[in-house]
Symmetry: C2
Subunit: 366 residues, 2 copies
Amino acid sequence: MLEDKNNKQHDISEYGEFGLIDLLTKNIEVKNNSTLKGIGDDAAVIDNKDRLTLVSHDLLIEGIHFDMMYAPLKHLGYKAAVINFSDIYAMNGKPEQLIMGIAVSSRFTVEALQEIYEGIKLACKNYDVDFAGGDTTSTNRGLVLSGTVVGWAERNDVVYRSGAKENELIGVSGDLGAAYAGLLILEREKAEFQANPNMQPDLSGNDYVLERQLKPEARKDVIRLLKEAKIKPTSMIDISDGLASEMIHLCKNSGLGAQVYEEKLPIDPATVAIANKFEIDEKTFALNGGEDYELLFTITQQDYEKIKDIQGLTIIGHMTEENAGINMVANSGQLIPLEAQGWDSFRKEKAEKNSRNENQEGKSEE
Amino acid sequence: MLEDKNNKQHDISEYGEFGLIDLLTKNIEVKNNSTLKGIGDDAAVIDNKDRLTLVSHDLLIEGIHFDMMYAPLKHLGYKAAVINFSDIYAMNGKPEQLIMGIAVSSRFTVEALQEIYEGIKLACKNYDVDFAGGDTTSTNRGLVLSGTVVGWAERNDVVYRSGAKENELIGVSGDLGAAYAGLLILEREKAEFQANPNMQPDLSGNDYVLERQLKPEARKDVIRLLKEAKIKPTSMIDISDGLASEMIHLCKNSGLGAQVYEEKLPIDPATVAIANKFEIDEKTFALNGGEDYELLFTITQQDYEKIKDIQGLTIIGHMTEENAGINMVANSGQLIPLEAQGWDSFRKEKAEKNSRNENQEGKSEE
């Protein structure tokens, strides 16, 4: 009613993940001395003189980030909390307070809300974080979990995305692609259930990848291991959107290129088995799968001796000059440019919509 | 698929605004020394030794908190930011950083997102707050604005909801009920537009109440005025859900009752005129309308001399012992208990659903 509709409009899906954020956040000036780091890292960094405060925020939206059909509510609350904690660890900080906004429709019961809260409380307990605020509001449909986490770090301990130097080593914690493998299993069972509601889901033998998808953990332990080994990463980010996308973030923020080696990518045998079953290259799971919540970081060459024997940490490549690009050296020796593609949710949504429109011609949505 | 559906389930609408939050947040323990105040105030309060960090979070959901049909996107961005700032002022603090999560469906264009960002940036500029983080994600439908604000205050300056004492005076800034008057005007025009799409909306002569609804301001100036007058409120809260609801919060947190006087309630003549037109008592607007974002506070009796000549601040009553209840003294002399009813969004949603079901029998939803 009150809007100007004259200008030429552009689809959000025309812009990539990076282009859209760049466009929206350009010309944002920082004015308060306390704002050490604004947009463009895992968390905002605020100077409180004695120590630095880290603040991060994540939204989980039903139908985009989870499916109520297979995500148990308690796990959902747990995950919503943990993915926020992960952002603080990715700054080499300690999460201490969580504020969780929940929006639910009236189809939810009090008991359903309590389940979500139980999951949040359990995550807070496991990570020594205080559940320090929560508001509950309603939606017309769908569930929204909106988490804000506050953490802190000593001034000299904070690690940004921008600190990597040429020739430094690239490390990653745990293994990659398992959460996506879990998602594929759940999606398959959902499709079969929808085709035949009398079917019992067959989730047997997939415990590891299902847990990685439904109840991920943040790598608090990795931060401790690195500290004990006296290694301070030069840059760090958590892997929420797949290795490729996060590698691009690190490179872009540090003004560098990178080379990672296919043969070094840590992928669990359970993930490989599922990739084989679905006839997808397991490297695709690792590079573009997302939701692993592992840590991707760089360290100096000198720190290699300290890290090489730490279980569960893998050196997968090194940083290069910017012009060399961001590539994976395939086992064949071929250089394959890394591309952020897996979790560009707008494109995904559009692709799904297009495929729905093709499948259901004549049936209108919206 | 994985959920246990055996237990007896309860409708969210069976619980009031207070009961639900109490139920969900009971048994939440605070473990970190830095957590000075968790759930139950306008913001979480975090001890950073040198100063206190205040963190608050608010969700704005399309169809619940705003209607895209009449809320211009730039105003929406502005409002989403300002209502967060208001929470920090309500703690007698200064907001410094804003993190805004935005979830949009693919029906939104890049230009629409830019409009929202323009509003957020303008609010940040007007209130000297840094836009320190923002993530954009997609929804299947609807727009969600999820704002987190970080502020600070000197240790001795923070004002909680719980600090009021018996016989202290109750003050309020500005005037009440105008935002709700604006909402009624917009809803009326929307209904007429839906009945006849060729109609031009008639919003003339309602500038004040429309601005109060669409582009509210946070009372940064009131915090400054009180400081200049050397008045530190003993308790404070911002009025987002109507005076009655906030008065109950202050009383509950302070373990007291209250008496406010109908004749003292500050209501703008424009609000009164609209109330008359809609044949609703204007007191209902002030008590239960919501979205005024004025400040409700208590001060000592000794501070009365300092406050009585400050323009735009009104003393509306005093705190009493708990057993006296929370009442309005009507102009007739009658005591009317204050009840939180206006913005219990779950009940509102349910009422609307029932009325939809009555109006559209046979048409199924959900």
